[in-house]
Every structure is written in C-alpha cells, then in structure tokens.
Symmetry: C2
Subunit: 303 residues, 2 copies
C-alpha cells in the first residue's frame, strides 16, 4: 500500500550525460502511472528495472520536448514487444496529432489501442479514478498550456478490531460489511454500532506533481496537505529574474510553497543544466523547508 | 583529409541499456554530416565529445523511429544553446510536417533556419556537394521509403613533384596552376607538360551507408568500390526468413554485398536486440568477407 515515486529524469530542457529530462513512475498498489516522458525515458525504465508494459496510463504535463519527446519511442517499443493492453494518455490535445503523424509516416499499426484524454483548463479536477487511486489536474502558469497532477490513494476501509471479531463471532460477510462502515445486528436483535467495532482508517496518501510553472495561487488549493510534493526548481534564488522571464520557479519559491501548502515532504527537480552540482540547490530549499530532497535519478520515494 | 565515421548507435528498433539506435557522424575534412538520428543521439554526441553545433547537415534514411526520433530533441538543444547557423535536413518529405507540428505545440521559434531537402525516388544521385565532399542517394528496399547515402571526398589536386618546383623555380601561382592540371610556359617560351611535373592525386575516398533494406540490385552500382561500406545486418543467417519478411538483411548477405561491390572494408550494424553478444554476427560476416567489423558505439573508422 501507499504511493511510490521513482525518479527517471530530473533535468530541464537539455539532457546531459548524467541527467535526463523529466519523467517519473508513480505506483499506487502496483497500479502504474507514468508522469511525463522526456527523451530517453524508455532506457531509464529499463535501467531501473520497471516492467513498463504494466504502465496503465501516461500523464503529460505540457508539450515542451523535455516532458514528452520520449513518448513516441516508448509507444513504439511497447508495440514491438507485443503489448495488446490499452494505454491511456492524458495530455494537451495537440499530442494526439503529433503521435499519429509519426505512426502514419512509419506505417505503424499499433497492436494496442491508445485512448486519448485531452487536458484543458475548462476541465480540471478529477480526470481518472479506480479502486486504487484518483488523479486530478490543476492548471499551472507556464509559457504554454501546462498542468500539475495530484495522485491520491482512494480512502481506505475502516480497520476492524480483532477482539470484536472474536467476541461477536463475526462471519466473513459481517467483517466486510463492518469494514465498509455498517453496523451489525446480532441474532438476539441487538444492534452494535460500527464505531464500537472499528478504528479509523489510515488517511489516504497524496502526491502532487507540479511541473514547469511560475508560482501562482492557482494551484495552492489543489496541493494542500500533500504527503509528498514534487515542485520544479529550475533555478537558484539569485536567478529569480530569469525564473520569472521563463515562467519557472526557484528553489526558495518551491520550498515556500511546500511550507504554505502544509506538505510533509518536498522533492525539487527540473534543474537547469547550468548546475553541475545540485547540493547548493538543496541547501537553499532546506533553509525554508527542512524536509526537502533532490529528484535524483533512480531515487524511489515511498509515502 | 579522408573520411572519418563515428558510430553513435547501432541497434535496431528497440534501444537497450548498452546499444542505442542508429546514428553516425561522418566528418570529411572537419565538415560534419550526421547520418540518421535515433532517440538519444544528442546524449551520444556529448558522450563522444562531438561539437554538435558544427553539424552542417543531417541525412535521415527513412521515417522509422529508430532512425529519427532523436532529431527533434537535437534541434531543440541546438536552439537552446544558441545556434544561428542554418541546418540542412535531407529526409523523406513527411519529416518537415512532423518537426513543424512539434515546434508549433511548444511555441518554439528557432533562432536558426532549417532548410529541408525532400528525398524521393525520382531524384536520386547527387543531392549535395561542396569543396570537401559530395553526397548522393540510392533507393533501398524496405517496408517504407528508404535511402542509402554515398559520401565521397571531392577529387584531390595533382601532387606536384618537389624537384620540379626547384628545377623550374616555380612561383606560388605556377604551383597552383600545375596542381590544377595546367602546363607551364617557361620565360624561354618552352612548354612543360603537366605530366612531367606531377604525380597522380590520391583517389578520393568513398563511404557508403546502406540503412534498412533487403538485399536488392538497386543499390549495387552506387556502392561499387567503396573504401568503407556500412551495411545493415539485423539478423544472423539462420533468421533469413524473418529478414525477408521484415525487409532486412542478414550478416551473410551484408558480407556478400561487400564482396560483390568490391568494397575494401565492411561495417555491419542495426543489430536485433535479441542478440546479447555481437561476436557471432561478426564471425558469420567474416566467413564471407574477412575485413568486416562491428558498428560498436564510440568506434571511429578512418578511411
């Protein structure tokens, strides 16, 4: 149970020998969502041993290349390796045409269906849910249309007290009903209130992914109380002017947002390739929000 | 002088941790041509220390992803790093639309012009020449429209004999004229024939790149007498049926073509990812054509 986030890439626009562009694998109870897919993501998935045919859906925050140029290659490889299971893609609407024109040029007829879900700013909020998780979007403020994603576990069942099972000799059916919140009626006709039989469930975990953006109150509400917040921090604080011009955030801004949103932990990423060492970026973030970490490739964050 | 070929990737459709898809840098007298550009090529260029802003033109053999998915990312990086010099792209005509739609989605306005040269089977032969090299195409036989490329040095000047310079006390101007093939007239009026002053020039070097194809006489003539022949060899000989079905070649077929075309050296590449070790492929090729080598990433072949 819980949410696990594997960092596959964390650099901004220009991939380097040691840092790949943005991509993350988010697993909720072994249900796989890929978030962004920069060039080389398929090789990163191999490198970190991810069974990528298990990916059920891919979310693309925006159509700058460092967030999606690896998608067509990954789709191609999924096809060549025999995928038949449908793949859901949530992205700005132009993506469908971009992929189709490339599939057409190659005369590729995919063995599996791609189901496109266009993101647009009129349709924010929950875009997907199943028994494991829900995903919602929030518009960001970047040079082009861009979205953040909030991935949450579904509410857990109530925990039934072991001694109640023994005491009332509850059947399997009774137990399932009690976990779902029902009272039970004993053979004597006596009604036992659910609250006497259960303890509250664990709070569902919440992961927020805030891709390229200048800080804006638009998304503050959506990410409140995140157990884990990824926020881009392309620049250090001395570059705030450049950050503003390019619709990006600094380390300090990312950390301030983690603080204001009452998030438990912050991961910063999308580092400008001007930084050889990332430690100074982390140091800055920690001055504002102590529980900060770097989105280092191969790191797995469990919440 | 001469031609230098750096292998950047040599795998077929699926990139793996150790083998990237097709791309090669061909340098003729420091004039750079990139041939094919699979996903991850920009990182390979960095890895092997290629100054990629020097690339003057890019040739794309066909529009299967393992030969061009890295192109949009490379163009994007050239732009971000401030390129202003025009870039020439020679490729099947649909490529222009594929790149443009992605640049448009990103609101990218490149600082440098891209000049597209559509390849098509009505227009084979020489597609480019300057003082260093000439490039010609030859149609191949693949599942989609596909071209091979022949890159040749321009004819060298005649070599002037040092003793002739001394004996006739030739001026710089005389020397240039003699190297270009002219006779000289001495102050006495005597004419000295060029053949008495010079030795024949070195034969211009020829590199042939035969991308994905089933063997077909179409291109045999174009690659005659190559100093270096790259020929795809996706499969070993026992997979000849599969090679035929997928419009590819085997090791043996590549080697036979090297032999028939009177090529001096063969590089095989575009290996199926089913092969962990490539030595058995090389052994097969060598049984037919001894001077065979593997297109191993990072290898530089000088001719």
């Amino acid at each position: 149970m819980g949410i696990s986030v594997t960092i596959l890439g964390s650099n901004s626009a220009i991939p380097t020998l040691t840092r790949r562009p943005t991509s993350q694998l988010v697993s909720v109870n072994q249900d796989y969502t890929l978030v962004d897919c920069g060039e080389g993501t398929q090789v990163q998935l191999r490198k970190y041993g991810v069974k990528f045919q298990r990916i059920a859906r891919i979310l693309i925050s925006h159509l700058h290349g460092d967030h999606y140029f690896g998608l067509i290659g990954l789709i191609n490889t999924m096809h060549l390796l025999g995928r038949e299971k449908e793949l859901h893609i949530y992205a700005p609407s132009q993506l469908q045409e971009i992929l189709n024109i490339q599939l057409k040029a190659a005369s590729s007829h995919l063995r599996f269906p791609i189901i496109y879900h266009d993101l647009n700013s009129d349709n924010v909020g929950v875009i997907f849910e199943n028994k494991n998780l829900s995903i919602s979007t929030t518009p960001l403020k970047h040079r082009i249309e861009c979205y953040g994603f909030i991935i949450q576990e579904q509410p857990h069942n109530l925990n039934i007290k072991k001694e109640a099972i023994d005491f009332y000799k509850l059947s399997i059916n009774n137990i399932l009903n009690v976990k779902a919140g029902e009272n039970i009626t004993l053979p004597t006709g006596e009604i036992i209130e659910n609250s006497r039989l259960t303890t509250p469930p664990k709070k569902p975990k919440k992961y927020s992914f805030i891709s390229d953006t200048k800080p804006t109150p638009n998304y503050y509400n959506a990410i409140q109380d995140s157990d884990l917040l990824y926020h881009e921090a392309t620049f250090m604080k001395d570059m705030i002017k450049r950050a503003k011009e390019t619709y990006h955030s600094t380390t300090i801004q990312a950390a301030e947002i983690a603080l204001e949103s009452n998030s438990k932990k912050l991961i910063i990423g999308h580092f400008s390739s001007r930084y050889d060492s990332l430690e100074p970026l982390l140091e800055e973030a920690k001055q504002v929000f102590a529980n900060s970490e770097l989105a280092t490739e191969g790191c797995v964050f469990e919440v």
